[in-house]
Symmetry: C2
């Protein structure tokens, strides 16, 4: 666990994270009655209580024989850092100072073969396995549930962080599962390529974790859904390895790949992923539009999708989210630039904000934008300017 | 089995099928040494030998109690018509006059619930079930393999042939599995819609069969792959029904739908399918292009796909298929219109034919065609004219 690591009780590295601007604090105060100031500080990691590890010496020895003694850790730090994800419930548990469900050990394999051997050794020993990628799950994916098992380990994939192959001709890349998205994109950028997948957890999420959770990125209307990028994967299960064919399409048989994508570690551990990649966009155009109601905006988006001219990014906010977005944007934000008066005069004052965006080659963005914009206008939208 | 039915030993209804034009017969003679004349006539159906049915009276009674006596048939006609598909090997077997593997009975449920009850009754009785849709499989999908089972039945889905619902707003339609594609499209056409899936077996293939075989249609580069149309399905298995959610996208969990699509009846019987549908195309533009080699043509197609400007139809023939296509097109065909002399003069004489096509609204076809054509030209293609 020598690579960058988040604090166990929140988001980001120690001391990182943006401060709350004054106008945002004001908005929170008026909407929720809280002012964003610290109510109670989180406990220090060394004060967090975890139960004694239930992993017996025999099982531990077997795992150490596979991955090496130093990669089987049962100390407090390792167990606390792998005990939960980043949901609100997770954060509350982490800040309570007690993690009764913490994994009994953290095991970090150094190869796909070692990962497979660990999974099978645990299967034989009756030990539950919870794979750990970026640790950003907000749906309980990291809960170390032991069920009827004797113990539970966190299978830390952080050492499997290499880019194995980049095929510039076919625009595919093969990754080990533990590489984080920014590091993967950094390697690809040297060849003018990118994965193009930008979930909110981008900074910390791993390639394997995105696939295991069927992650949906910012540009998911266009190219951002991870399931549409997965060409093939390898997965270690208690019964052996599953390896799917790296072909762009097939007209035969069930798609086992689609059974593993989104399986959240319940069927096995993803040990290798082949993704389609794309050129880094040379042009980006983001625009804000307003609609008089959520229904009007939704109708507009349906028109775009059915005409096959949907933008890469399409996000329609309801009235409440629109109000929040405008408030958090502040006085130098969107609302100020557009002019609240204009919106009111045209009947959009209580309306809904839609963000649309295109990315790609400049001529490509222009070609795809034009039929979409025509339809947004025809559907009653009001163009409120370009984004940053 | 009152609906239209193919001859058991070939394609189409009795007496149907195009005659072989003279120039095609000439080509076959020169290439293969055969002249297309009849070598041996197929046997009459009543002369085909099938073994005695292995379905015992008890099992038959249970099935009859579910679907009605008249829908459990063990006569020769029913069994011969459901014994095989339409592959070359199937046709040879059918024309041999003996079908030792014919199913022991043909059972035709009248509802999804009846289909489920049949599957479960067969599971309990140790009887294998082979679902039968359009009967057009060319990969052995209809082989009535009994394995270790006491008997095998053909589960004929022909009575489940209704369009259950058309949602014009969301552009989706819900079908029973046994409806054939032309009949389904006929119902949709009344509302200006179509499935848009055109496999070579279009005339006979059923909606359920297309899904169970992960069928790939003519316009599969664009909208023609059935797996990209399946929004949801219901499937009866020996352990109960699986019903997937009718949502266009999800970022959670494994896609069970993708496990059932292409499962060829091995996991259960598809009893209902919800497909996305599309407006009937008002414009169609098909073009022939020539490339100097297969590699040059493949490079051109890769460029189009990677630039997201692939046409709906894209078919690149190798040198041998190109020669055959031109020969079978005849003297009033493509080659004549383009002029062999022109092709030769420009170095495409031994080249490869590429057919590309766009379908949709006229402005849509024009908008999508232009960036594709520019790239085909840049990649060395020679435009040889529009199709019919």
């Amino acid at each position: 666990m020598s690579r960058r690591e988040q604090v166990f009780h929140g988001w980001g590295e120690p001391g990182a994270g943006p401060a709350l601007p004054g106008h945002a604090a004001g908005f929170l105060r008026s909407e929720l009655g809280v002012d964003g100031s610290v109510v109670a500080p989180p406990p220090a990691l060394e004060d967090v209580v975890v139960p004694e590890s239930a992993l017996d010496a025999g099982a531990r020895e077997k795992l150490a024989a596979i991955v090496g003694e130093e990669h089987v850790r049962a100390d407090r730090e390792a167990r606390v850092l792998r005990a939960a994800g980043k949901s609100y419930l997770d954060l509350l548990a982490q800040r309570s100072g007690s993690l009764p469900g913490a994994p009994d050990a953290v095991v970090a394999p150094g190869s796909a073969a070692e990962a497979g051997a660990v999974v099978r050794a645990c299967g034989e020993a009756g030990v539950a396995v919870v794979p750990f990628g970026g640790g950003t799950s907000v749906v309980g994916g990291l809960a170390p549930e032991r069920g009827g098992h004797r113990a539970v380990i966190s299978l830390d994939l952080g050492r499997l962080d290499r880019v194995l192959e980049v095929d510039e001709r076919s625009r595919t890349a093969r990754f080990e599962p533990g590489i984080r998205l920014p590091e993967a994109d950094h390697v690809l950028a040297a060849r003018g390529l990118t994965i193009g997948h930008h979930p909110q957890s981008y900074e910390w999420a791993t390639v394997g974790g995105c696939v295991a959770t069927r992650s949906s990125g910012q540009a998911s209307t266009g190219f951002g859904r991870i399931d549409e990028h997965v060409l093939a994967l390898r997965c270690e299960t208690p019964l052996g390895e599953i390896s799917t064919l790296p072909v762009p399409a097939t007209a035969a048989g069930p798609a086992l790949r689609e059974l593993l994508v989104g399986s959240e570690g319940t069927l096995g551990v993803i040990t290798e992923v082949t993704l389609t990649v794309r050129p880094v966009a040379r042009a980006r155009r983001y625009e804000a539009w307003f609609f008089r109601s959520f229904g009007e905006g939704a109708d507009a988006l349906r028109t775009l999708v059915q005409a096959d001219v949907a933008p890469d990014v399409a996000r329609l906010s309801d009235e409440a989210e629109t109000r929040m977005s405008l408030a958090l944007a502040g006085t130098d934000g969107l609302k100020a630039r557009v002019g609240g008066a204009v919106l009111r005069a045209r009947g959009y004052a209580e309306g809904c904000l839609m963000i649309v965006g295109w990315e790609g080659e400049p001529e490509d963005v222009a070609r795809r934008r034009s039929p979409a914009v025509r339809r947004l206008e025809a559907a009653g939208g009001f163009a409120a300017g370009r984004g940053p």
